[in-house]
């Protein structure tokens, strides 16, 4: 099988891909080898803090998952498994969750982990002085956290909130050492203390973050690796070259054109099971984009097949909704409301009353996929007769400016979440904490709140389908493509697969010699 692939690559030059399935090709009989260093490439390092209470940037997540444990952990198929919480039960119609914690867990500074620490951690998330990035999401949900026993903690909620478990598998569930926080104060972000398999050894901003093995890790026998180093590389291609010489083991995210360059003797390309959702967003609560016909008109002017072809070699999926059309438990079939049609676009533009001489600013963030999307969309809108100016913005400032509402019309992207509420409510509810479009549809709000209060999976999935249909009529975003993203890994890497939410969790990984 491998030889066949290699010949194809030699024969056809750049077009074949040494792609593997998402699941490890090597059977599980290999025993993990201890030791070694895992080098992960980071492109455009945006890491600002290693304090999970304050963390916003995606880049920080993969480091955080090694420094800290969460109460629960997410599997590659989005199911949940215990981590710091051994078992849990849901009571009172979903308004009370009781967690039994692992015994004998210590923070990296030697202080014990217990129910009191969990209570403290959650209260930190809710404390207005801390200004946690998770506060807007959790404050309305959590009424109180009580210590039932030294290793048993209960969450009392104001209303049923099914995505609590998924949230506790992410930043909100990362347990920070209270003693450590007290000791370091405002500098905790650079001196993290958790319970995780690795400790921070060195952090040279913009160059590398080095983590070293926690010898007192509570999971016996883990971790296998001695060190994990996150190295900033200026671009993906250099990262690929360095896999070839053994300096780097993981590079992501990569597009199909970049994958063409890999050397199959040293590198494997793994496709993400679910692509990132790419879309255009705009502020629909004020001019110019509060004009629904204008939004529809612009949607008709965009050639999404072409974008898919140029950005993802045609391997992405055209998105006509917020989720993929299949593959996840809450996926719903698409009901498209627009196609590429420059004539229809022009007709709708006339109907919308838009003044064609007025310039439209489309922002062009510096990251490769966003930037290319902007340029292509700009080209297509210009072809439809609109006056478009592209406004560059550095990627590290991008999301902050979107939140500040300085950036209006721009490409954007989101990864799928373990619980659909985390994306749907987050983006589309009028009070959603990620709602930067100003979208407000009372029917959508009602449906989203309803979906929160029931636990039956099929019923919830149906409701999200209805939300998606409304979404496609209102177009607070123009969905473009579910990307074909790849991660290139060294052939020496074992026991790691990319997750559909695109967060890398390297805890159990190991390397052959």
């Amino acid at each position: 099988m491998l030889i066949h692939r290699r010949n194809i690559i030699k024969g056809m030059g750049a077009s074949a891909l040494a792609v593997s399935t998402p699941w490890p090709v090597v059977a599980q009989q290999e025993t993990p080898r201890r030791g070694g260093t895992l080098n992960v490439a980071v492109i455009h390092d945006n890491t600002k803090t290693l304090d999970p209470r304050l963390s916003i940037q995606l880049d920080e997540r993969q480091v955080l998952f090694l420094l800290y444990n969460t109460l629960l952990t997410v599997q590659p198929d989005f199911s949940l498994k215990p981590d710091l919480a051994k078992e849990w039960s849901v009571e009172n119609d979903g308004k009370r969750y009781v967690f039994t914690l692992q015994d004998g867990v210590k923070f990296q500074d030697g202080t014990p982990f217990d129910a009191a620490a969990v209570k403290w951690n959650i209260e930190q998330r809710l404390d207005e002085k801390v200004k946690s990035s998770q506060r807007p999401q959790l404050l309305p949900v959590i009424a109180s956290v009580e210590v039932v026993a030294p290793l048993v903690v209960a969450f009392n909620l104001n209303y049923a909130y099914p995505s609590l478990l998924a949230d506790l598998a992410d930043r909100a569930g990362m347990m920070v050492s209270p003693a450590g926080s007290e000791k370091y104060g405002a500098d905790f972000g650079r001196n993290p203390v958790g319970t995780g398999p690795f400790v921070l050894k060195q952090w040279i901003q913009g160059t590398n973050i080095t983590l070293t093995r926690n010898p007192n890790y509570w999971r016996q026998g883990e971790p296998y690796l001695d060190e994990v180093v996150f190295r900033t590389v200026p671009n993906a291609v250099l990262g690929l070259q360095r896999i070839g010489i053994g300096e780097i083991d993981v590079v992501a995210p990569l597009g199909p054109s970049e994958i063409r360059q890999i050397d199959p003797r040293t590198t494997r390309a793994i496709k993400f099971p679910v692509g990132r959702w790419y879309a255009l967003q705009w502020q629909v609560d004020k001019p110019p984009f509060n004009n629904a016909k204008l939004r529809m008109a612009i949607a008709h002017a965009i050639d999404r097949n072409r974008i898919n072809q140029i950005l993802f070699d045609g391997e992405g999926t055209i998105a006509d909704g917020l989720s993929p059309p299949s593959g996840l438990w809450y996926a719903n079939p698409y009901k498209p409301t627009f196609q590429y049609s420059p004539e229809k676009a022009r007709a709708l533009l006339k109907e919308s009353g838009w003044n064609m001489d007025e310039p439209i600013t489309l922002w062009a963030p510096s990251e490769a996929v966003y930037n290319k999307t902007s340029q292509l969309v700009g080209e297509q809108l210009t072809a439809a007769g609109l006056k478009v100016t592209l406004s560059p913005i550095v990627q590290s400032e991008f999301y902050a400016r979107v939140v500040q509402k300085v950036v209006n019309f721009t490409p954007t992207s989101w990864g799928q979440r373990a619980d659909p509420d985390s994306l749907y409510y987050f983006l589309l509810h009028s009070k959603g904490t990620g709602n930067t479009t100003g979208y407000s549809n009372p029917q959508t709000d009602r449906l989203l709140e309803q979906a929160r209060s029931i636990t039956n999976r099929e019923e919830r999935a149906k409701i999200y389908g209805e939300v998606q249909d409304l979404f496609m009529q209102d177009l607070p975003y123009i969905p473009l493509v579910l990307g074909a993203d790849y991660v290139a890994v060294s052939t020496k890497l074992r026991n790691w697969v990319p997750s559909p939410d695109s967060y890398a969790r390297f805890q159990g990984a190991w390397k052959t010699a």
Binding site: G189, Q205, G206, V233, V394, K405
Partner: protein
């Protein structure tokens, strides 16, 4: 001599204060405030107003300058808006790298220019004068790209880029610096060569040199012992003047090779509208250059008495 130095120093401090204030005013005062610089020109007035209050941008410029200067003199340049890291430590880390790169580059350029032009035969020196034109006109990014392609990608002799600290191995550290040093020093090799050649030729024609040759002393010895010491002066002066320009070259070179020096820090600060970083690096570069100009003036005066009297 002392009087000369003192008179220069007397003007130096006020000059520095005025220039740094101007820079501060330009960065802070233009277009309303750093708030609009940070948020972009289309920001809502409310957002700008709030940011102004938060950072004290509403106060009079002199007051802001004073505040900044006072903190700076105590070693506190504030915190980067982008990374929340202390700017002082960011600069300290980056400065070491730029200084090391620059020292290597200038030394290499000077030694190569002076050495090759003194010892080389006619053909070599003619080639160098043509080559110098290329050296001073080729942009750093093009030279860097070419070197990377030839030596790192095609021949695979050297790594493409990135910074490896001393602590990770001297050989590795130096290997990663070879291409950046060559890139940065090219311009100076060209200019040093041109300046040195011109001076060299005029010294060669002087009487004492012809006498030495007539006495039968070998060409090499004449070159090294008699001509070189007398023609080096303009090169040294040029080094003094060009230390400021070196920063400009370093900026592009560091970006090409991904070296985390001051140049790259500055560019990142500008692209991200990171006001404290832009301010701190700008001021430090400005002050540094005024200091080197002053020192160059003094050295020049020491060597050339005519300057002192003017």
């Amino acid at each position: 001599m002392i009087r000369f130095i003192l008179s220069r120093l007397a003007f130096f401090v006020p000059n520095v204060l005025i220039m740094t204030f101007l820079l501060f005013a330009v960065l802070s005062g233009w277009l309303g405030s750093p708030a609009s610089m940070m948020l972009g020109l289309d920001a809502s007035p409310q957002a700008i107003h709030d940011l102004n209050r938060l950072y004290g941008f509403d106060d009079p410029i002199i007051q802001q300058y004073g505040r900044w200067l006072w903190a700076a003199l105590h070693g506190d340049f504030g915190r980067s808006f982008a990374t929340q890291q202390g700017v002082t430590s960011m600069i300290a880390d980056a400065l070491q790298i730029t200084v090391e790169l620059s020292l290597w580059a200038i030394t290499l350029a000077a030694l190569a220019a002076i050495g090759l032009n003194s010892l080389g035969g006619r053909r070599l020196t003619n080639f160098i004068s043509t080559f110098s034109v290329v050296c001073i006109t080729i942009p750093n990014f093009m030279l860097g790209a070419t070197l990377i392609f030839v030596f790192a990608i095609y021949l695979r002799w050297l790594p493409t880029s990135a910074w490896v600290p001393w602590s990770d191995g001297i050989v590795d550290h130096l290997l990663h610096l070879v291409l950046p040093i060559i890139t940065l020093s090219a311009f100076y090799f060209g200019s040093f060569s041109m300046i040195y050649r011109a001076e060299y030729r005029s010294v060669m024609n002087q009487l004492f040199v012809r006498v030495a040759k007539a006495k039968g002393i070998s060409d090499t010895r004449v070159s090294l012992q008699h001509v070189l010491p007398n023609s080096v002066l303009p090169v040294i002066t040029f080094i003094g003047i060009s230390l400021g320009q070196l920063m400009g070259g370093a900026v592009v070179t560091e970006v090409v090779f991904s070296l985390p020096g001051i140049g790259r820090l500055f560019v990142a600060g500008i692209r991200g509208n990171d006001y404290p970083v832009i301010l701190a690096v700008g001021m430090i570069v400005l002050t540094g250059m005024m200091i080197t100009n002053l020192l160059a003036d003094i050295v020049l005066a020491r060597i050339n008495p005519q300057v002192r009297l003017s």
